[in-house]
Protein backbone atom coordinates (compact mmCIF):
# COMPACT_ATOMS: atom_id res chain seq x y z
CA UNK A 1 0.00 0.00 0.00
CA UNK A 2 0.95 3.63 -0.48
CA UNK A 3 0.13 5.97 2.37
CA UNK A 4 0.26 9.73 2.27
CA UNK A 5 0.86 11.14 5.76
CA UNK A 6 0.86 14.66 7.18
CA UNK A 7 2.66 15.01 10.49
CA UNK A 8 2.90 17.88 12.91
CA UNK A 9 6.06 17.81 14.99
CA UNK A 10 7.52 19.80 17.85
CA UNK A 11 10.52 21.73 16.56
CA UNK A 12 13.49 19.86 17.93
CA UNK A 13 16.82 19.38 16.16
CA UNK A 14 16.48 15.59 16.22
CA UNK A 15 12.76 15.24 15.54
CA UNK A 16 13.19 14.35 11.86
CA UNK A 17 15.67 11.61 12.77
CA UNK A 18 13.15 10.16 15.19
CA UNK A 19 10.43 9.98 12.56
CA UNK A 20 12.75 8.55 9.89
CA UNK A 21 14.14 5.94 12.27
CA UNK A 22 10.75 4.67 13.35
CA UNK A 23 9.52 4.62 9.74
CA UNK A 24 12.49 2.54 8.59
CA UNK A 25 12.49 0.20 11.56
CA UNK A 26 8.75 -0.54 11.31
CA UNK A 27 9.14 -1.59 7.68
CA UNK A 28 8.01 1.39 5.61
CA UNK A 29 9.89 2.87 2.65
CA UNK A 30 9.77 6.63 2.23
CA UNK A 31 9.22 7.61 -1.40
CA UNK A 32 8.52 11.33 -0.96
CA UNK A 33 9.34 13.78 1.81
CA UNK A 34 8.71 17.46 2.40
CA UNK A 35 9.32 19.49 5.53
CA UNK A 36 8.86 23.06 6.62
CA UNK A 37 9.10 25.00 9.87
CA UNK A 38 6.04 27.10 10.53
CA UNK A 39 5.81 30.35 12.40
CA UNK A 40 4.01 29.04 15.49
CA UNK A 41 6.86 26.71 16.38
CA UNK A 42 5.69 23.51 14.72
CA UNK A 43 7.36 21.46 12.05
CA UNK A 44 5.12 20.21 9.25
CA UNK A 45 6.21 17.01 7.58
CA UNK A 46 4.52 15.42 4.59
CA UNK A 47 5.64 12.00 3.54
CA UNK A 48 4.58 9.23 1.24
CA UNK A 49 5.47 5.74 2.39
CA UNK A 50 5.12 2.27 0.90
CA UNK A 51 4.73 -1.01 2.73
CA UNK A 52 2.95 -4.34 2.69
CA UNK A 53 2.22 -3.72 6.36
CA UNK A 54 -0.93 -2.15 7.74
CA UNK A 55 -0.70 1.58 8.30
CA UNK A 56 -1.35 1.24 12.05
CA UNK A 57 2.00 -0.53 12.38
CA UNK A 58 3.53 2.83 11.55
CA UNK A 59 0.99 5.43 12.63
CA UNK A 60 0.64 4.05 16.16
CA UNK A 61 4.40 4.04 16.61
CA UNK A 62 4.74 7.57 15.23
CA UNK A 63 1.97 8.74 17.56
CA UNK A 64 3.95 7.33 20.47
CA UNK A 65 6.87 9.65 19.75
CA UNK A 66 6.75 12.43 22.31
CA UNK A 67 7.51 15.12 19.71
CA UNK A 68 4.87 14.00 17.21
CA UNK A 69 1.76 16.04 17.97
CA UNK A 70 -0.33 14.80 15.04
CA UNK A 71 -0.14 12.06 12.44
CA UNK A 72 -2.87 12.42 9.79
CA UNK A 73 -3.52 10.01 6.95
CA UNK A 74 -4.19 12.11 3.87
CA UNK A 75 -4.74 9.24 1.46
CA UNK A 76 -4.22 5.52 1.02
CA UNK A 77 -3.95 3.64 -2.23
CA UNK A 78 -3.10 0.18 -3.45
CA UNK A 79 0.40 -0.49 -4.77
CA UNK A 80 0.03 -1.12 -8.51
CA UNK A 81 2.82 -3.65 -8.56
CA UNK A 82 4.24 -5.81 -5.83
CA UNK A 83 7.63 -4.74 -4.55
CA UNK A 84 10.42 -7.33 -4.56
CA UNK A 85 8.65 -9.31 -7.28
Amino acid sequence: MIYNLALTLVQQPEVLERVLRVTRHRGFKITELGMQLDANGDTKLDMVVESERALEQLSHQLNKLIDVTECKVVSTKQLTQTANA
Binding site: E14, R21, E56, N63, L65
Partner: protein
Amino acid sequence: MEQGQKIRGADAVIKVLAAHGVTTVFGYPGGAIMPIYDALYGAPVEHLLSRHEQGAAFAAVGYARASGKTGVCFATSGPGATNLVTSLADALLDSVPLVAITGQVSTAVIGTDAFQEIDVLGMSLSCTKHSFMVTDVNELIPTLYRAFEIAASGRPGPVLVDIPKDIQIALLDYKTPLLAISPEPQASEQQIEAAKVLLSEAKKPMLYVGGGVGMAGAVDQLRGFIDVTGVPSVATLKGLGSIPHDDAGYLGMLGMHGGKAANIAVQECDLLIVVGARFDDRVTGRLATFAEHAKVLHLDIDVAELGKLRRPDVAIAGDLRQILPAIAQSLEIAPWQAEVASLKANHQWNYERPGELIFAPKMLNRLANKLPEDSVIACDVGQHQMWVAQHMWFRRPEDHLSSAGLGTMGFGLPAAIGAKVARPDACVVAVSGDGSFMMNVQELTTIKRRQIPLKILLIDNQKLGMVKQWQQLFFEERFSETDLSGNPDFVTMASAFDIPGRTITQGDEVEQALDEMLNATGPFLLHVRIDDAHNVWPLVPPGACNRDMMDEMEKQT
Protein backbone atom coordinates in the same frame (compact mmCIF):
# COMPACT_ATOMS: atom_id res chain seq x y z
CA MET B 1 12.82 25.69 47.49
CA GLU B 2 14.71 28.94 47.97
CA GLN B 3 14.00 31.45 45.22
CA GLY B 4 16.35 34.03 43.80
CA GLN B 5 19.54 32.29 44.82
CA LYS B 6 21.66 31.19 41.87
CA ILE B 7 22.92 27.64 41.86
CA ARG B 8 24.89 25.56 39.37
CA GLY B 9 23.10 23.40 36.86
CA ALA B 10 24.75 20.41 38.53
CA ASP B 11 23.24 21.36 41.90
CA ALA B 12 19.86 21.76 40.23
CA VAL B 13 20.13 18.18 38.93
CA ILE B 14 20.55 16.85 42.45
CA LYS B 15 17.72 19.05 43.74
CA VAL B 16 15.36 17.74 41.04
CA LEU B 17 16.24 14.17 42.02
CA ALA B 18 15.55 14.92 45.68
CA ALA B 19 12.26 16.60 44.70
CA HIS B 20 11.25 13.34 42.98
CA GLY B 21 11.93 11.30 46.09
CA VAL B 22 15.05 9.72 44.64
CA THR B 23 17.14 8.47 47.55
CA THR B 24 19.71 6.43 45.62
CA VAL B 25 21.31 6.85 42.21
CA PHE B 26 23.60 4.35 40.53
CA GLY B 27 26.52 5.45 38.44
CA TYR B 28 30.12 5.90 37.54
CA PRO B 29 31.90 9.28 37.34
CA GLY B 30 34.08 10.66 34.56
CA GLY B 31 35.29 13.92 33.05
CA ALA B 32 32.14 15.36 31.50
CA ILE B 33 29.92 14.61 34.50
CA MET B 34 32.31 15.85 37.20
CA PRO B 35 30.25 18.90 38.18
CA ILE B 36 27.25 16.65 38.90
CA TYR B 37 29.43 14.35 41.01
CA ASP B 38 30.72 17.45 42.77
CA ALA B 39 27.14 18.50 43.53
CA LEU B 40 26.43 14.99 44.78
CA TYR B 41 29.26 15.20 47.31
CA GLY B 42 27.62 15.58 50.72
CA ALA B 43 24.12 15.82 49.17
CA PRO B 44 21.18 13.91 50.70
CA VAL B 45 20.95 11.69 47.62
CA GLU B 46 22.98 8.51 48.07
CA HIS B 47 25.15 7.24 45.21
CA LEU B 48 26.02 3.62 44.64
CA LEU B 49 29.23 3.26 42.69
CA SER B 50 29.16 0.42 40.17
CA ARG B 51 32.22 -0.80 38.29
CA HIS B 52 30.76 -0.51 34.82
CA GLU B 53 28.00 1.77 33.57
CA GLN B 54 25.98 -1.21 32.35
CA GLY B 55 26.03 -2.51 35.92
CA ALA B 56 24.93 0.89 37.24
CA ALA B 57 21.99 1.08 34.85
CA PHE B 58 20.95 -2.51 35.55
CA ALA B 59 21.07 -1.76 39.27
CA ALA B 60 18.76 1.18 38.57
CA VAL B 61 16.50 -1.17 36.60
CA GLY B 62 16.48 -3.65 39.49
CA TYR B 63 15.71 -0.82 41.91
CA ALA B 64 12.82 0.33 39.72
CA ARG B 65 11.38 -3.12 39.13
CA ALA B 66 11.57 -4.20 42.77
CA SER B 67 10.10 -0.95 44.12
CA GLY B 68 7.83 0.44 41.40
CA LYS B 69 9.73 3.73 41.60
CA THR B 70 11.75 5.35 38.82
CA GLY B 71 15.41 4.27 38.76
CA VAL B 72 18.14 6.81 38.13
CA CYS B 73 21.66 6.29 36.80
CA PHE B 74 24.59 8.56 35.94
CA ALA B 75 27.33 8.11 33.36
CA THR B 76 29.90 10.31 31.77
CA SER B 77 30.12 11.18 28.06
CA GLY B 78 31.54 8.90 25.36
CA PRO B 79 32.29 5.42 26.71
CA GLY B 80 30.25 6.03 29.85
CA ALA B 81 27.18 6.73 27.76
CA THR B 82 27.79 3.96 25.22
CA ASN B 83 28.09 1.49 28.10
CA LEU B 84 24.52 2.37 29.07
CA VAL B 85 23.03 1.29 25.75
CA THR B 86 22.32 -2.34 26.64
CA SER B 87 20.61 -1.46 29.89
CA LEU B 88 18.52 1.25 28.25
CA ALA B 89 17.42 -1.22 25.58
CA ASP B 90 16.58 -3.73 28.29
CA ALA B 91 14.48 -1.12 30.10
CA LEU B 92 12.75 -0.19 26.84
CA LEU B 93 11.72 -3.74 25.99
CA ASP B 94 10.58 -4.44 29.56
CA SER B 95 8.90 -1.01 30.02
CA VAL B 96 10.93 -0.02 33.08
CA PRO B 97 10.81 3.60 34.30
CA LEU B 98 14.39 4.82 34.24
CA VAL B 99 16.04 8.22 34.00
CA ALA B 100 19.62 8.10 32.73
CA ILE B 101 21.66 11.27 33.09
CA THR B 102 24.81 11.53 31.02
CA GLY B 103 27.51 14.17 31.03
CA GLN B 104 28.37 15.58 27.63
CA VAL B 105 31.30 17.64 26.37
CA SER B 106 30.70 21.41 26.47
CA THR B 107 28.29 22.84 23.90
CA ALA B 108 31.10 24.82 22.24
CA VAL B 109 32.92 21.63 21.24
CA ILE B 110 29.96 19.36 20.46
CA GLY B 111 30.39 18.21 16.89
CA THR B 112 34.18 18.63 16.85
CA ASP B 113 35.02 15.03 17.80
CA ALA B 114 36.19 16.26 21.18
CA PHE B 115 37.70 13.91 23.76
CA GLN B 116 35.08 11.42 24.94
CA GLU B 117 32.50 12.90 22.61
CA ILE B 118 29.89 10.73 20.95
CA ASP B 119 26.47 11.75 19.67
CA VAL B 120 24.55 10.38 22.65
CA LEU B 121 21.24 11.90 21.60
CA GLY B 122 21.53 10.18 18.22
CA MET B 123 22.58 6.94 19.89
CA SER B 124 19.62 7.08 22.25
CA LEU B 125 16.91 7.21 19.58
CA SER B 126 16.49 3.45 19.23
CA CYS B 127 16.97 2.46 22.87
CA THR B 128 14.91 4.95 24.89
CA LYS B 129 11.28 5.99 25.19
CA HIS B 130 12.48 9.56 24.82
CA SER B 131 15.68 11.55 25.17
CA PHE B 132 16.87 15.11 25.56
CA MET B 133 20.04 17.09 25.17
CA VAL B 134 19.97 20.24 27.26
CA THR B 135 21.55 23.20 25.47
CA ASP B 136 20.08 26.06 27.51
CA VAL B 137 20.54 26.10 31.26
CA ASN B 138 17.05 27.59 31.69
CA GLU B 139 15.63 24.44 30.14
CA LEU B 140 17.51 22.13 32.51
CA ILE B 141 14.96 21.88 35.33
CA PRO B 142 11.85 21.64 33.12
CA THR B 143 13.62 19.00 31.01
CA LEU B 144 14.45 16.87 34.05
CA TYR B 145 10.87 17.13 35.31
CA ARG B 146 9.63 16.10 31.86
CA ALA B 147 12.05 13.17 31.91
CA PHE B 148 10.60 11.84 35.15
CA GLU B 149 7.05 12.36 33.92
CA ILE B 150 7.67 10.57 30.61
CA ALA B 151 9.59 7.68 32.21
CA ALA B 152 6.74 6.78 34.57
CA SER B 153 3.60 7.71 32.63
CA GLY B 154 1.58 5.62 30.19
CA ARG B 155 3.67 2.62 29.25
CA PRO B 156 6.82 3.34 31.29
CA GLY B 157 10.29 3.34 29.79
CA PRO B 158 13.81 4.73 29.90
CA VAL B 159 14.47 8.43 29.31
CA LEU B 160 17.94 9.82 28.75
CA VAL B 161 19.00 13.39 29.54
CA ASP B 162 22.35 14.43 28.07
CA ILE B 163 23.79 17.46 29.87
CA PRO B 164 26.84 19.26 28.46
CA LYS B 165 29.47 20.23 31.00
CA ASP B 166 29.04 23.99 30.53
CA ILE B 167 25.32 23.62 31.34
CA GLN B 168 26.28 21.78 34.53
CA ILE B 169 28.42 24.70 35.71
CA ALA B 170 26.19 27.52 34.44
CA LEU B 171 24.18 29.36 37.11
CA LEU B 172 20.40 29.44 37.27
CA ASP B 173 17.51 30.27 39.56
CA TYR B 174 15.91 27.13 40.91
CA LYS B 175 12.21 27.19 40.07
CA THR B 176 9.84 24.25 40.21
CA PRO B 177 8.26 24.10 36.75
CA LEU B 178 4.57 23.68 36.03
CA LEU B 179 4.13 20.55 33.99
CA ALA B 180 1.39 19.53 31.66
CA ILE B 181 0.59 15.89 32.44
CA SER B 182 0.25 13.68 29.37
CA PRO B 183 -3.34 12.51 28.97
CA GLU B 184 -3.86 8.76 29.36
CA PRO B 185 -6.26 6.85 27.13
CA GLN B 186 -9.68 6.26 28.69
CA ALA B 187 -12.01 3.34 28.17
CA SER B 188 -15.41 4.27 26.71
CA GLU B 189 -18.70 2.85 27.97
CA GLN B 190 -19.27 1.15 24.62
CA GLN B 191 -15.90 -0.61 24.90
CA ILE B 192 -16.67 -1.80 28.42
CA GLU B 193 -20.08 -3.05 27.24
CA ALA B 194 -18.55 -4.83 24.23
CA ALA B 195 -15.99 -6.49 26.51
CA LYS B 196 -18.72 -7.65 28.88
CA VAL B 197 -20.69 -9.14 25.99
CA LEU B 198 -17.61 -11.04 24.78
CA LEU B 199 -17.07 -12.35 28.29
CA SER B 200 -20.64 -13.42 28.81
CA GLU B 201 -20.72 -15.26 25.45
CA ALA B 202 -17.50 -17.17 26.12
CA LYS B 203 -17.66 -20.81 27.13
CA LYS B 204 -13.89 -21.20 27.47
CA PRO B 205 -12.32 -17.88 28.45
CA MET B 206 -8.63 -17.73 29.32
CA LEU B 207 -6.59 -14.89 30.85
CA TYR B 208 -3.18 -14.23 29.29
CA VAL B 209 -1.46 -11.94 31.79
CA GLY B 210 1.67 -9.93 31.04
CA GLY B 211 4.03 -7.54 32.75
CA GLY B 212 1.65 -4.63 32.20
CA VAL B 213 -0.45 -5.72 35.16
CA GLY B 214 2.39 -5.25 37.63
CA MET B 215 3.60 -2.06 35.93
CA ALA B 216 0.08 -0.61 36.17
CA GLY B 217 -0.21 -1.47 39.85
CA ALA B 218 -3.24 -3.56 38.89
CA VAL B 219 -2.35 -6.85 40.60
CA ASP B 220 -5.15 -6.50 43.17
CA GLN B 221 -7.69 -5.61 40.46
CA LEU B 222 -6.60 -8.62 38.41
CA ARG B 223 -6.98 -10.92 41.41
CA GLY B 224 -10.38 -9.38 42.06
CA PHE B 225 -11.36 -10.04 38.44
CA ILE B 226 -10.35 -13.69 38.81
CA ASP B 227 -12.30 -13.99 42.06
CA VAL B 228 -15.45 -12.66 40.41
CA THR B 229 -15.22 -14.43 37.06
CA GLY B 230 -13.36 -17.65 37.90
CA VAL B 231 -11.51 -17.38 34.58
CA PRO B 232 -8.48 -19.69 34.31
CA SER B 233 -5.17 -18.01 33.62
CA VAL B 234 -1.63 -18.19 32.28
CA ALA B 235 1.16 -15.63 32.61
CA THR B 236 4.12 -14.44 30.59
CA LEU B 237 7.65 -14.32 32.01
CA LYS B 238 7.03 -10.76 33.20
CA GLY B 239 3.53 -11.58 34.36
CA LEU B 240 4.68 -14.19 36.90
CA GLY B 241 3.64 -13.24 40.42
CA SER B 242 0.53 -11.37 39.27
CA ILE B 243 -1.71 -14.35 40.00
CA PRO B 244 -1.36 -16.37 43.23
CA HIS B 245 0.49 -19.57 42.30
CA ASP B 246 -2.04 -21.70 44.16
CA ASP B 247 -5.08 -20.22 42.39
CA ALA B 248 -7.10 -23.20 41.14
CA GLY B 249 -7.28 -22.01 37.52
CA TYR B 250 -3.72 -20.74 37.24
CA LEU B 251 -1.54 -22.81 34.90
CA GLY B 252 1.76 -20.93 35.14
CA MET B 253 3.82 -19.63 32.25
CA LEU B 254 2.84 -20.12 28.62
CA GLY B 255 4.96 -20.05 25.49
CA MET B 256 8.18 -21.56 24.26
CA HIS B 257 9.09 -22.96 27.68
CA GLY B 258 5.63 -22.75 29.15
CA GLY B 259 3.91 -25.62 30.87
CA LYS B 260 1.97 -28.11 28.79
CA ALA B 261 -1.31 -27.42 30.53
CA ALA B 262 -0.85 -23.67 29.96
CA ASN B 263 -0.17 -24.00 26.25
CA ILE B 264 -2.90 -26.56 25.63
CA ALA B 265 -5.50 -24.53 27.51
CA VAL B 266 -4.66 -21.42 25.50
CA GLN B 267 -4.99 -23.41 22.26
CA GLU B 268 -8.37 -24.70 23.44
CA CYS B 269 -9.90 -21.46 24.65
CA ASP B 270 -12.63 -19.57 22.80
CA LEU B 271 -11.84 -16.17 24.33
CA LEU B 272 -8.35 -14.95 25.09
CA ILE B 273 -8.34 -12.06 27.56
CA VAL B 274 -5.00 -10.38 27.04
CA VAL B 275 -4.07 -8.12 29.94
CA GLY B 276 -0.90 -6.02 29.72
CA ALA B 277 0.72 -8.44 27.30
CA ARG B 278 1.83 -8.10 23.68
CA PHE B 279 1.86 -11.42 21.76
CA ASP B 280 5.64 -11.74 21.94
CA ASP B 281 7.01 -14.46 19.65
CA ARG B 282 8.36 -16.37 22.67
CA VAL B 283 4.78 -16.52 23.90
CA THR B 284 2.86 -17.26 20.73
CA GLY B 285 5.06 -19.69 18.83
CA ARG B 286 3.71 -19.66 15.25
CA LEU B 287 1.43 -16.65 15.46
CA ALA B 288 -1.11 -17.87 12.89
CA THR B 289 -1.88 -20.92 14.99
CA PHE B 290 -1.82 -19.24 18.42
CA ALA B 291 -5.20 -19.66 20.14
CA GLU B 292 -6.54 -19.88 16.63
CA HIS B 293 -10.18 -20.48 17.51
CA ALA B 294 -10.32 -17.79 20.15
CA LYS B 295 -11.79 -14.35 20.04
CA VAL B 296 -9.46 -11.77 21.57
CA LEU B 297 -10.16 -9.14 24.20
CA HIS B 298 -7.01 -7.04 24.51
CA LEU B 299 -6.47 -4.62 27.40
CA ASP B 300 -3.35 -2.44 27.50
CA ILE B 301 -2.26 1.11 28.24
CA ASP B 302 -0.32 1.24 24.95
CA VAL B 303 -2.58 1.74 21.92
CA ALA B 304 0.24 0.61 19.63
CA GLU B 305 0.07 -2.92 21.07
CA LEU B 306 -3.62 -3.31 20.18
CA GLY B 307 -3.73 -5.08 16.84
CA LYS B 308 0.05 -5.01 16.37
CA LEU B 309 0.34 -8.78 15.98
CA ARG B 310 -3.17 -10.15 16.51
CA ARG B 311 -6.36 -8.42 15.52
CA PRO B 312 -8.53 -8.11 18.66
CA ASP B 313 -12.31 -8.48 18.63
CA VAL B 314 -12.51 -5.87 21.36
CA ALA B 315 -9.58 -3.74 22.45
CA ILE B 316 -9.48 -1.24 25.27
CA ALA B 317 -6.59 1.14 25.85
CA GLY B 318 -6.52 2.49 29.35
CA ASP B 319 -5.75 2.02 33.00
CA LEU B 320 -6.08 -1.66 33.94
CA ARG B 321 -6.99 -0.64 37.50
CA GLN B 322 -10.21 0.82 36.12
CA ILE B 323 -10.95 -1.54 33.25
CA LEU B 324 -10.66 -4.85 35.11
CA PRO B 325 -13.26 -4.08 37.81
CA ALA B 326 -15.52 -2.49 35.19
CA ILE B 327 -15.76 -5.65 33.08
CA ALA B 328 -15.77 -8.22 35.92
CA GLN B 329 -18.95 -10.32 36.11
CA SER B 330 -19.75 -13.83 37.21
CA LEU B 331 -19.61 -16.39 34.39
CA GLU B 332 -21.12 -19.80 33.74
CA ILE B 333 -17.97 -21.70 32.86
CA ALA B 334 -17.95 -24.68 35.21
CA PRO B 335 -17.28 -27.30 32.47
CA TRP B 336 -14.29 -25.31 31.23
CA GLN B 337 -12.98 -24.84 34.77
CA ALA B 338 -13.19 -28.60 35.20
CA GLU B 339 -11.36 -29.17 31.91
CA VAL B 340 -8.60 -26.79 33.01
CA ALA B 341 -8.38 -28.46 36.42
CA SER B 342 -7.94 -31.81 34.74
CA LEU B 343 -5.26 -30.43 32.39
CA LYS B 344 -3.48 -29.02 35.43
CA ALA B 345 -3.68 -32.32 37.31
CA ASN B 346 -2.39 -34.26 34.30
CA HIS B 347 0.63 -32.05 33.69
CA GLN B 348 2.34 -31.57 37.03
CA TRP B 349 6.12 -31.18 37.11
CA ASN B 350 8.03 -34.32 37.97
CA TYR B 351 11.04 -33.63 40.18
CA GLU B 352 12.21 -37.20 40.54
CA ARG B 353 15.42 -37.95 38.69
CA PRO B 354 17.64 -41.00 39.02
CA GLY B 355 21.20 -40.47 40.23
CA GLU B 356 23.02 -38.52 42.92
CA LEU B 357 23.51 -35.29 40.98
CA ILE B 358 21.64 -32.05 41.51
CA PHE B 359 18.49 -31.49 39.49
CA ALA B 360 18.26 -27.71 39.19
CA PRO B 361 14.44 -27.50 38.74
CA LYS B 362 13.93 -29.42 41.99
CA MET B 363 16.46 -27.24 43.81
CA LEU B 364 14.76 -24.04 42.59
CA ASN B 365 11.38 -25.34 43.66
CA ARG B 366 12.82 -26.02 47.13
CA LEU B 367 14.29 -22.52 47.21
CA ALA B 368 10.91 -20.96 46.37
CA ASN B 369 9.29 -22.86 49.23
CA LYS B 370 11.99 -21.75 51.67
CA LEU B 371 12.04 -18.02 50.85
CA PRO B 372 10.64 -15.61 53.40
CA GLU B 373 7.55 -13.62 52.45
CA ASP B 374 9.51 -10.51 51.50
CA SER B 375 11.87 -11.85 48.83
CA VAL B 376 13.18 -10.90 45.43
CA ILE B 377 14.69 -13.22 42.85
CA ALA B 378 16.78 -11.56 40.14
CA CYS B 379 17.87 -13.97 37.49
CA ASP B 380 20.08 -13.90 34.46
CA VAL B 381 19.34 -15.28 31.02
CA GLY B 382 19.40 -18.81 29.75
CA GLN B 383 18.38 -22.24 31.00
CA HIS B 384 18.44 -21.25 34.67
CA GLN B 385 16.14 -18.31 33.86
CA MET B 386 13.55 -20.64 32.38
CA TRP B 387 13.89 -23.04 35.31
CA VAL B 388 13.29 -20.14 37.68
CA ALA B 389 10.17 -19.18 35.72
CA GLN B 390 8.87 -22.76 35.62
CA HIS B 391 9.74 -24.06 39.06
CA MET B 392 9.77 -21.08 41.41
CA TRP B 393 6.72 -19.10 42.45
CA PHE B 394 6.33 -15.47 43.40
CA ARG B 395 3.94 -13.51 45.57
CA ARG B 396 4.05 -10.35 43.44
CA PRO B 397 5.50 -9.51 40.00
CA GLU B 398 8.01 -7.15 41.64
CA ASP B 399 9.50 -10.16 43.43
CA HIS B 400 10.74 -11.67 40.15
CA LEU B 401 13.23 -9.67 38.09
CA SER B 402 14.09 -11.22 34.77
CA SER B 403 15.33 -9.70 31.54
CA ALA B 404 12.35 -10.77 29.48
CA GLY B 405 12.14 -8.71 26.31
CA LEU B 406 15.82 -8.16 25.57
CA GLY B 407 17.10 -11.33 27.22
CA THR B 408 20.28 -9.72 28.48
CA MET B 409 22.90 -11.98 30.01
CA GLY B 410 24.56 -10.11 32.88
CA PHE B 411 21.28 -8.63 34.12
CA GLY B 412 20.92 -10.63 37.32
CA LEU B 413 23.75 -9.57 39.60
CA PRO B 414 23.43 -5.79 39.18
CA ALA B 415 19.61 -6.00 39.17
CA ALA B 416 19.80 -7.86 42.49
CA ILE B 417 22.02 -5.10 43.89
CA GLY B 418 19.46 -2.49 42.89
CA ALA B 419 16.63 -4.57 44.36
CA LYS B 420 18.46 -4.93 47.68
CA VAL B 421 18.99 -1.17 47.83
CA ALA B 422 15.31 -0.56 47.09
CA ARG B 423 14.08 -3.20 49.54
CA PRO B 424 16.79 -3.57 52.20
CA ASP B 425 14.61 -5.81 54.37
CA ALA B 426 13.88 -8.27 51.58
CA CYS B 427 15.79 -11.48 51.05
CA VAL B 428 17.34 -10.90 47.62
CA VAL B 429 18.78 -13.83 45.67
CA ALA B 430 20.54 -13.48 42.32
CA VAL B 431 20.08 -16.75 40.45
CA SER B 432 22.65 -16.92 37.70
CA GLY B 433 24.33 -19.28 35.30
CA ASP B 434 28.02 -19.73 34.70
CA GLY B 435 27.75 -17.90 31.37
CA SER B 436 25.65 -14.93 32.49
CA PHE B 437 27.46 -14.47 35.82
CA MET B 438 30.73 -13.54 34.12
CA MET B 439 29.05 -10.83 32.03
CA ASN B 440 28.79 -8.34 34.90
CA VAL B 441 31.02 -10.07 37.44
CA GLN B 442 32.77 -6.78 38.20
CA GLU B 443 29.72 -5.87 40.30
CA LEU B 444 30.97 -8.23 43.01
CA THR B 445 33.13 -5.24 43.94
CA THR B 446 29.99 -3.18 44.49
CA ILE B 447 28.75 -5.85 46.90
CA LYS B 448 32.09 -5.87 48.70
CA ARG B 449 32.32 -2.10 48.90
CA ARG B 450 28.90 -1.75 50.57
CA GLN B 451 28.76 -5.22 52.13
CA ILE B 452 25.39 -5.70 50.43
CA PRO B 453 23.97 -8.88 51.98
CA LEU B 454 22.51 -10.46 48.86
CA LYS B 455 22.74 -14.13 48.01
CA ILE B 456 24.05 -15.56 44.75
CA LEU B 457 22.89 -18.95 43.56
CA LEU B 458 25.20 -19.81 40.69
CA ILE B 459 24.01 -22.78 38.63
CA ASP B 460 27.01 -24.10 36.76
CA ASN B 461 26.88 -26.67 33.96
CA GLN B 462 30.13 -25.45 32.39
CA LYS B 463 28.12 -24.62 29.31
CA LEU B 464 26.39 -21.81 27.56
CA GLY B 465 23.45 -24.04 28.24
CA MET B 466 20.56 -22.65 26.23
CA VAL B 467 22.65 -22.25 23.10
CA LYS B 468 24.05 -25.73 23.68
CA GLN B 469 20.49 -27.06 23.96
CA TRP B 470 19.60 -25.56 20.58
CA GLN B 471 22.80 -26.90 19.02
CA GLN B 472 21.81 -30.30 20.34
CA LEU B 473 18.26 -30.08 19.01
CA PHE B 474 18.53 -28.01 15.87
CA PHE B 475 22.20 -27.90 14.78
CA GLU B 476 23.15 -31.60 14.71
CA GLU B 477 25.09 -31.43 17.98
CA ARG B 478 27.75 -29.18 16.48
CA PHE B 479 28.69 -27.56 19.79
CA SER B 480 30.23 -24.39 18.47
CA GLU B 481 31.77 -22.24 21.27
CA THR B 482 29.37 -23.25 24.03
CA ASP B 483 31.83 -25.13 26.23
CA LEU B 484 32.64 -22.93 29.23
CA SER B 485 34.88 -25.41 31.04
CA GLY B 486 37.52 -22.69 31.28
CA ASN B 487 35.43 -21.02 34.01
CA PRO B 488 37.28 -19.69 37.05
CA ASP B 489 36.95 -21.31 40.45
CA PHE B 490 33.88 -19.32 41.46
CA VAL B 491 34.15 -19.78 45.22
CA THR B 492 37.81 -18.70 45.22
CA MET B 493 36.88 -15.74 43.08
CA ALA B 494 34.07 -14.73 45.46
CA SER B 495 36.46 -14.96 48.39
CA ALA B 496 38.64 -12.35 46.69
CA PHE B 497 35.65 -10.01 47.12
CA ASP B 498 35.20 -11.06 50.78
CA ILE B 499 32.10 -13.04 49.80
CA PRO B 500 32.00 -16.44 51.48
CA GLY B 501 30.69 -19.38 49.51
CA ARG B 502 30.69 -23.08 48.92
CA THR B 503 30.33 -25.54 46.08
CA ILE B 504 27.86 -28.41 46.04
CA THR B 505 27.61 -31.23 43.53
CA GLN B 506 25.29 -33.83 45.11
CA GLY B 507 21.52 -33.82 45.47
CA ASP B 508 21.66 -34.61 49.16
CA GLU B 509 23.67 -31.43 49.84
CA VAL B 510 21.01 -29.09 48.46
CA GLU B 511 18.75 -28.72 51.48
CA GLN B 512 21.47 -27.79 53.95
CA ALA B 513 23.33 -25.59 51.44
CA LEU B 514 20.21 -23.53 50.62
CA ASP B 515 19.69 -23.00 54.35
CA GLU B 516 23.30 -21.97 54.81
CA MET B 517 22.96 -19.43 51.99
CA LEU B 518 19.66 -18.01 53.22
CA ASN B 519 20.80 -17.85 56.83
CA ALA B 520 24.11 -16.13 56.09
CA THR B 521 24.10 -12.65 57.61
CA GLY B 522 26.18 -11.12 54.82
CA PRO B 523 26.53 -11.86 51.11
CA PHE B 524 26.99 -15.50 50.15
CA LEU B 525 27.69 -17.40 46.94
CA LEU B 526 26.34 -20.90 46.56
CA HIS B 527 28.00 -22.55 43.59
CA VAL B 528 25.95 -25.47 42.32
CA ARG B 529 27.47 -27.83 39.81
CA ILE B 530 24.83 -29.61 37.76
CA ASP B 531 24.76 -32.26 35.07
CA ASP B 532 25.18 -30.60 31.67
CA ALA B 533 22.79 -33.17 30.18
CA HIS B 534 19.77 -31.43 31.71
CA ASN B 535 17.88 -29.18 29.35
CA VAL B 536 14.78 -27.01 29.60
CA TRP B 537 11.54 -28.85 28.89
CA PRO B 538 9.03 -28.69 27.43
CA LEU B 539 10.06 -26.66 24.41
CA VAL B 540 8.11 -25.32 21.46
CA PRO B 541 10.57 -25.45 18.55
CA PRO B 542 11.08 -22.14 16.73
CA GLY B 543 8.29 -21.53 14.24
CA ALA B 544 6.09 -24.34 15.58
CA CYS B 545 2.60 -24.18 16.99
CA ASN B 546 2.45 -24.07 20.80
CA ARG B 547 0.52 -27.33 20.74
CA ASP B 548 3.60 -29.09 19.34
CA MET B 549 5.78 -29.08 22.44
CA MET B 550 8.90 -31.23 22.52
CA ASP B 551 9.28 -33.38 25.61
CA GLU B 552 12.27 -34.33 27.64
CA MET B 553 14.98 -36.08 25.63
CA GLU B 554 18.02 -36.16 27.86
CA LYS B 555 21.40 -36.67 26.22
CA GLN B 556 22.61 -40.20 26.81
CA THR B 557 26.37 -39.99 27.25
